[in-house]
């Protein structure tokens, strides 16, 4: 069984490589040296991170954008998934997934060109609202994907039974299908939040001067060269998302 041992070792290596980048960042965020040589434990980079007002503003923007687009895309996407489940159309659901396979850079440029064209007739500027609109537009496909997967295992007969027993269509949805969909909707919202909070390529295209997000600031910092503050922020983001996943897991079990 030499062969399978070799494959096992290889798999372990792939698993390790998936996690090494993050572990390295976490480790070096506590390094007192600016370079990737260990010199000693220090919280200097975390102090600099909390002192940076531009960073705080970008983090706040990211949070507002991610929350707004999560709420909107989760509601709209769930309604759409329910509608498609009731009355499926292969052509329609296929085209809604279009944004999943469109290269990000294409989506970004096309939205920028579109917004600029709209602004000729309608005096507005690029800003938080354009970023939120763009995020909602590309998050809906993710929400659909997750909620539709949950609906695929649902039993239409249950709603019909509720209708037979005197519920109206809204009650049947609210009392029968919605509770069953809850875990799916929670997962979809979590996914929508992550894709919105993480997005750089599309956001950088449609953002205005007042709507710089955290990934944009991170990107600018990293382009300027090795910067342990980036590692510190990365560690905080990673821990934040870890906590979010744990909380949502607990909530689904409860």
């Amino acid at each position: 069984m030499k062969q399978s041992r070799f494959l096992g070792l290889f798999a372990a290596l792939v698993y390790a490589f998936l996690h090494v980048p993050l572990l390295l960042l976490c480790a070096f965020s506590f390094n007192s040296s600016k370079f990737t040589v260990w010199e000693g434990f220090s919280l200097e980079w975390y102090r600099q991170m909390f002192a940076d007002t531009q960073l705080a503003e970008a983090a706040w923007n990211s949070l507002v954008i991610a929350l707004a687009s999560t709420v909107l895309s989760t509601i709209i996407g769930t309604l759409c998934a329910y509608g498609l489940w009731k009355r499926g159309s292969k052509w329609l659901s296929g085209s809604l997934y279009l944004s999943l396979v469109t290269p990000e850079i294409v989506t970004g440029i096309s939205m920028l060109a579109f917004f600029q064209w709209v602004f000729r007739y309608w005096q507005v500027q690029l800003g938080m609202h354009t970023v939120i609109l763009a995020h909602v537009a590309f998050s809906i496909a993710y929400v659909l994907l997750v909620v539709m997967a949950r609906l695929r295992t649902a039993e239409p007969a249950l709603e019909e039974a509720a209708l037979d027993l005197g519920a109206n269509e809204w009650q049947a949805f609210k009392l029968v299908t919605l509770p069953m969909l809850k875990p799916g909707i929670a997962a979809a919202a979590l996914l929508a939040f992550t894709v919105s909070f993480d997005d750089y390529v599309i956001t950088a295209m449609v953002a205005g001067v007042d709507s710089e997000t955290l990934p944009m600031v991170l990107y600018a910092m990293a382009r300027r060269g090795a910067n342990p503050v980036v590692s510190a922020i990365s560690t905080v983001i990673f821990l934040g998302f870890g906590a979010l996943i744990l909380i949502s897991d607990r909530m689904q079990k409860a």
Binding site: F17, I76, A137, L144, F238
Partner: protein
Amino acid sequence: MTRPWRLLLLPSLFLWLAGVLTPLVFVLRMSLYAHGEGSGEKHFDALFYQPGTWSLQSILTVLTEPFYQRLFAFTALLALTVTTLTLLCGYLLGYLVYRATPKRKILLILLIALPKFTNILVFVFGVKMIFGANGFFPVVAGEVLLLVPYAALTIAATLETVPYHLVEAARGLGASPAAAFWRVTFPLSMPGVAAAAILTILWSASGFLGPYLLGEPVHYTVAVEVERQVRQNLNWTLAAALNVVLIALLAGGAYTMSLLRRRLA
């Protein structure tokens, strides 16, 4: 009575039209404008293209200039290398998930998905730290690590539908473990491999952050050039033409693959 659930689709359809389809049509139109002057006191958008004109100039530039031909060739080479490696690693991880006990299955899936819950940028910085210097190998490694989780989970989901007693039956009839795998498990998992391949090719061919942050300028992809044209050269028509050619190639590639898949199935 009108069916109320048709109304439920309206918000999505509206957003899809405004946020996905219209912009795509815009890119197509943009690639057919004469390019702008980049200066002067014009309307903001007239700096980047000349409204009302029709011109094949940008598309022809992309199709004929050696620089762009080399760019597309390199992007294709990168995408194929990344896809091959991603599918190999993804299949292995997916197979381990398939064969694991239910308890370990969840752990293995979590370990695959965990890196996806961080910022892509953050992940790429981490990869940069491992390698130190930029180059072709770091770009490939970065893209593979970014895409392996998707490939592994897609393949695992398809493998889950393959009943293991089929393999046991093949073994019972005298097949070696390798023969049982290649003649039973592998053919049945092909739909998952094909789906993963399409996703990986699409994403690696349009990769931006990986090549930009981990590569030297010779390792830049079409997406990086698009960004440079928009941000630095303010040549929107050329950027749009690059996009149109990229989409056409990707759509052609995806279509060919789906035809192949139908033939294999």
